[in-house]
């Protein structure tokens, strides 16, 4: 497909334009091929999930999860709370650390060998399988402190950290150097310049990048499997006791042979996607307003 041989432009023009049109059509078909699964998945989730959610409208969001999974009926309240807890915990850990890491890379490290190594390894870290992060947190945290939403938050934070570092560094690169120089000229210290001039200037981009990372993290399942445990009742305590999450409920109910459980899985999927899309949309809106 990728060829470096010289082109023969002396070939008959007709044949060349036919080939051009054929390839353009193929590229268009590739776009269609991407849109089909997206539409199919969204359609399945909405058509099967929305009915489940809205036929038991407030109950689906508030009731507890049935302990016996073949029993029909609503209830994803604890899972919604669990997802919010785990994701919020992960955000509180990963976003400040990620921003600091990016500040190090762009404001302090620059092109030094250490900064280059950190930048390279952060990119590599985005590719570490999420289940490996889950096991790592299980071995270092859960074994000692037991199941809790916080363990899941730790695992998600490990996944989010390199993503936040990457997106924040890109935003810091866009802050004009003369803003920094103006602050230095006024005698401001470097830390103060970063905190009061550079970061506020890059804030909308940083928030938007972080929100995209949050949306991805909210849907993760594998890192939570070993750390969060399994619960069917509300557990508002971040730091102790087994908890649950929407993604874990979908995973657990997807392979069930009971229709009632499958229905709850679709309802949970609808709720989870609604959450993820809302967060993503907020991120997009923030960023577009800034760049326009």
């Amino acid at each position: 497909m990728i060829a470096g041989e010289p082109l023969d432009l002396r070939a008959r023009p007709n044949w060349r334009s036919v080939k051009n049109i054929a390839m353009t059509v193929l590229m268009g078909l590739a776009v269609v091929a991407v849109v089909i699964p997206l539409v199919a998945v969204v359609w399945s989730v909405v058509s099967r999930g929305a009915g489940i959610v809205f036929s038991a409208f407030p109950d689906f969001f508030t009731a507890e999860i049935p302990v016996v999974s073949r029993r029909a009926g609503p209830g994803m309240g604890p899972a919604i709370l669990g997802t919010l807890l785990v994701t919020a915990g992960a955000t509180l850990i990963a976003v400040p650390l990620g921003i600091l890491g990016a500040v190090f890379l762009h404001e302090y490290g620059g092109t030094s060998a250490f900064a280059k190594l950190v930048r390279f390894m952060a990119t590599v870290m985005t590719g570490v399988p999420s289940i490996v992060m889950g096991l790592f947190v299980y071995l270092t945290w859960t074994l000692k402190f037991g199941y809790s939403a916080f363990g899941g938050a730790l695992a998600l934070a490990c996944l989010m950290l390199p993503v936040v570092i990457g997106s924040t560094e890109q935003m810091l690169r866009l802050v004009p150097a003369n803003l920094r120089e103006a602050a230095y000229a006024l005698g401001t210290s470097k830390s103060r310049t970063i905190l009061t001039v550079v970061l506020p200037a890059a804030l909308p981009g940083i928030v938007s990048g972080s929100l995209l990372a949050v949306a991805r993290a909210a849907g993760e399942t594998a890192p939570l499997l070993f750390a969060v445990g399994a619960a069917t009742a509300y557990n508002p305590n971040l730091f102790s006791g087994a908890n649950t999450a929407l993604s874990m409920q979908i995973f657990g109910n997807a392979t069930s042979s009971f229709v009632a459980a499958q229905d709850r899985a679709w309802g949970a999927a609808f709720t989870l996607m609604l959450l993820a899309f809302l967060v993503t949309l907020t991120a997009r809106l923030l960023f577009t307003r800034r760049s326009s």
């Binding site: 390279f120 490996v132 499997l225």
Partner: protein, 292 residues
């Protein structure tokens, strides 16, 4: 208010600098800890099985036999199917967006493809198990897993390819067009040779993601033991799927075996990611150097 330029904040400044350094070093720390902690926990099963862990086909917890070959094969095979499905489509979309689509269409199309990345992997898994394998009769197999993984890695391969392709200097494209090349000939003569390295890197990053994807694979691959076959319609298993499915009822040696699987997965994905990141960064730097 009067300015005080006597360096009162020197301590704060230095402290902030060290905090930023620490956040950067955290990335290296986490990656190092993952490798150390997991390798340590994997030792018992490697001591028991020796090299057979990687070459034996028998995996039976009651007999204390742990041969991971079928799972390594399943991971590589499904990832290969995913890449084979995803690469032509991703490349077509990237070329369409950068070379064919009118300016007003570009942004909405990029958003649409990014939406695919927001769909949680467990939702793809749910769709795969209840719609793709059930209603379309594909069953749970290597092929079903490959298709789902292929859909999931398409956004990342597309967006990386797009970035690489956009670094092609306009002068090179215009040179081809000025010689009378059609659009497709221009793509083959200027765009593809210029982006070759970066595209290879993008595909490898996609490969790494496909190998590490857990939940979707765990739901659709079928969890069959001992399958080392090229038959894409056969049920099989992959490393992350085994870990997710068997962890709950595993005893000590079994857990050690699962952790050894995670270490194997970690090493393979890190190797793929290291090479891919190096290729992408080098080709980006080279093409940036070229453009005036």
């Amino acid at each position: 208010m009067q300015l005080d330029l006597r360096g009162r904040s020197a301590y704060g400044d230095r402290a902030f600098r060290w905090i930023a350094y620490g956040a950067g070093a955290l990335v290296l720390l986490i990656l190092g800890l993952i490798a150390l902690v997991m390798a340590d926990r994997a030792r018992p099963v490697i001591g028991e099985m020796g090299i057979d862990f990687f070459s034996s086909k028998r995996w039976s917890a009651p007999d204390g036999l742990y041969g991971a070959l079928p799972f390594i094969w399943g991971t590589l095979y499904t990832a290969a199917i995913a890449v084979a499905i995803s690469v032509p489509v991703s490349l077509g979309v990237a070329l369409f967006v950068t070379q064919v689509a009118p300016r007003w269409l570009k942004k909405p199309m990029v958003y649409l493809i990014d939406l695919l990345a927001v769909v949680p992997s467990v939702v793809f898994g749910l769709w795969g198990v209840l719609v793709l394998s059930h209603q379309f009769g594909l069953g749970r197999s290597f092929l079903t897993a490959g298709i789902i993984l292929g859909i999931m890695i398409t956004p990342i391969i597309t967006s990386l390819s797009r970035e690489v392709i956009e670094t092609t200097p306009a002068s090179e494209k215009e040179a081809a067009l000025a010689l009378g090349a059609t659009r497709w000939e221009m793509i083959r003569a200027s765009v593809l040779p210029h982006s070759k390295g970066g595209l290879v890197g993008a595909v490898m990053l996609g490969l790494g993601r496909a190998m590490g994807e857990t939940i979707a694979a765990a739901l659709v691959i079928g969890s069959a033991l001992g399958q080392v076959t090229l038959n894409a319609f056969a049920s099989g298993n992959s490393m992350p799927a085994v870990i997710a499915n068997e962890w709950g009822e595993a005893d000590d040696l079994h857990k050690s075996a699962l952790i050894a699987l995670a270490v194997t997965l970690f090493v393979i994905t890190i190797a793929v990611n290291l090479i891919a990141t190096a290729i992408v960064q080098r080709s980006m730097k080279r093409s940036r150097g070229k453009t005036p």
